[in-house]
Symmetry: none
Subunit: 225 residues, 4 copies
DNA sequence: AATGAATGAGTTTTCATTCAT
DNA sequence: TATGAATGAAAACTCATTCAT
């Protein structure tokens, strides 16, 4: 074998390494897959999402989905855990403790609305989970550990408000929490059909601002003694 | 026209209804397919639903789905039109016209809650539609024609209440309508995940009653002047 | 039942008869099916043709295909018999008997070309038949009876021409007949691919005229002694 | 580079070729699919061919058809490109340049006949393409690049023949090329129906020889001045 | 004669997942 | 870790044909 041949072989080997960098960055790969999966699941649902598409969006090989997550369902759960984690993080940041009751509730409502406005995919991701009886959520240890601090917080705030004479009695804190979430959630989750039926584009910034105000008003007014 | 003619007509009508074992009953076949599709779509979503399964549930040949509806999407739209039709029918039956404003709003909230409680699949059916940007709804002439009478009704009731001094000013009727729907909708749509997270089965009759009361209270209290 | 009702019923019954005339014209129905089938088979081939489409093109119920012809294959054979019948009719009309040999051959070539130009679907219909080993043609008693008079005619003309000293010897009449057909047939059957490859639209009238002249010249020149 | 390296490289090359039972050989798989597709398309046409059958003939999983070619149509195009490539290769090998005009034309006619005799599926494959208006051919960049050298070659040979006084003037080279192709093509493409109608098996070797001679004679005689 | 409902066996294509390197 | 080939089960949709009226 001549030197020329040897050189060519070496080059060809080298080329393979250079062109396909195979970066071997597990953390980045995992993150890219997760981001891609979040988009794909949000856009097409659990059943409608395609593993091929997720890998393509992430720019990595399809097999890595299985390597890192096991299967499509596990990947979906990982995405769910991620979005719940986001919500909890946001809730923890709220810092309602020091605020007077009225401002605390208002802050909570606004934060709730703003989070959904900023992360509309959260809603869509939850839909499939709810249709499936929350089987992923119930099976997740991580999510089990992620208790929301807000229900007890709401309970405390309500108590303070009642004692201060600014809130009425008889409001169930769990249901108030659900209502606060629901008033925003439904608006965002059903924007397309509501817009179609009302013949009015509810996705515009102006409409969102109007909705935000309405939700805050509704809840605040309802709490008056 | 002679009595003989009349007899023949009657007989022909009777024959169709009674004598035949109905092995060829297009109307019934269509209805069976629609019912089966509603269940399958509600259970598995648009992407997750299986045409095979729908035909099997209906007990008819799969091809008839295509014969009667064209394709899976058109069948889905037919189901959507059906559930919207149901809602509109219920709304028309409400008869809020004669009632005093307070009772009218209360009746509306309760009816809204009760309809979702009775037809939980409505929510689930709408989810896919919203994820897809309401493309079926927007393309449907039937749905275009099915305007809800409720927004203008709410508007009228609010006006009466304000004039009677029992409702506050400044409540947007469209958003109030959305809120009334949303407060119930979110509860039903997210029962599984909420139950999992609160560690509390929200699907029990007792919980539903509590939620119903909470929703009525919340809205009614918020409307006070 | 009031007279008004009766009138409406009568009218509705009558309407059914008038609007859907159900002409009950077997001959016309058969012909319409045959025409539609010829187009559909020519356009899509035997395998590609759709019975549904044929019925739709004919404007009659699909079942009538089976009623009149038995099945798709038999319908295809009926079309084949039709186009062969057309060719034989045209051949019989030629009347080469009285002509001098040169003019007779020329007339034959031109008629052959013109028939294909006028009935381009003939070629396409035969393609599937040839791919299938002519199984329909071989099974048809009608076609068996439709001998072409032309081969013996060509033989006779060649003989006359040789005796008259204007044609050379040694030309096989069967192969000459095949050549005359083939020189036109190939041009028409392969117009699309030839056009694509030569980058030149051979389907134009000018190109057809040029081809016709070329074919006549080629054969006539080749027969010179 | 050390001898050790050389040994490793040699071994790796060897491994790929000899040791492995080749359970993963993309090149071979592609080729097997292409061969199987060629047979299936030739036998049953584009519409009549079955992807299942192609995969079965190739002995590979059906999905690989989609993996390697995209869909049935693209596979068909790949087959077309293959058979055209074959023709062009044969044409390039002809080497008519040095021959005297008469021998050159004769060689061309014989090669044309022999190629079709050796590859009868070429005809059948083209039929569907022509029925479809050559949509695959027109969309293929590969085929666009595969110009036949023969038309200009024929043109040149004709010129030489005329100058040498052995060919007559006025023969259009494109049409001569089409005629040479058509005289053989039609014979092979319509052998079954011609045989059925003449009651004479044209597929026998003797008949083929007779046809070959006839075609050569016809063209050569027609070119005499 | 004519219609439209109904059927069952396909047919292309898709998809989650595993294998081999 | 990363890749692309390979698989098998199913999915939507098609189609020739028959049934019931």
């Amino acid at each position: 074998m001549s030197t020329v041949w040897l050189e060519m072989l070496k080059r060809s080997v080298k080329r393979q390494k250079d062109i396909k960098p195979q970066r071997r960055d597990p953390v980045a790969t995992r993150r890219k897959l997760l981001t891609a999966a979040r988009r794909e699941f949000a856009q097409n649902g659990l059943a409608g999402a395609r593993v091929d598409e997720i890998a393509a969006r992430a720019g990595v090989n399809k097999q890595l989905v299985y390597h890192y997550f096991g299967d499509k369902d596990a990947l979906y759960l990982a995405v769910l855990e991620w979005v719940y984690e986001e919500i909890r993080t946001q809730e923890r940041k709220l810092n309602l403790e020091g605020l007077p009751p009225e401002r605390a509730i208002k802050a909570l409502i606004e934060a709730s609305f703003d989070h959904l406005a900023a992360h509309p995919d959260f809603i869509v991701l939850l839909n499939d989970e709810n249709r499936g009886g929350a089987r992923h959520v119930r099976g997740s240890r991580k999510l089990e550990a992620m208790h929301s601090p807000l229900v007890s917080m709401v309970s405390k705030i309500l108590g303070e408000g009642i004692r201060a004479g600014i809130f009425r009695r008889g409001v169930n804190p769990v249901h108030l929490y659900i209502s606060i979430a629901g008033l925003s959630y439904f608006f965002f989750s059903n924007t397309p059909t509501l817009s179609a039926i009302f013949g009015r584009d509810l996705s515009s910034p102006a409409e969102k601002r109007a909705r935000r105000k309405h939700v805050v008003d509704l809840v605040m007014q309802s709490l008056r003694p």
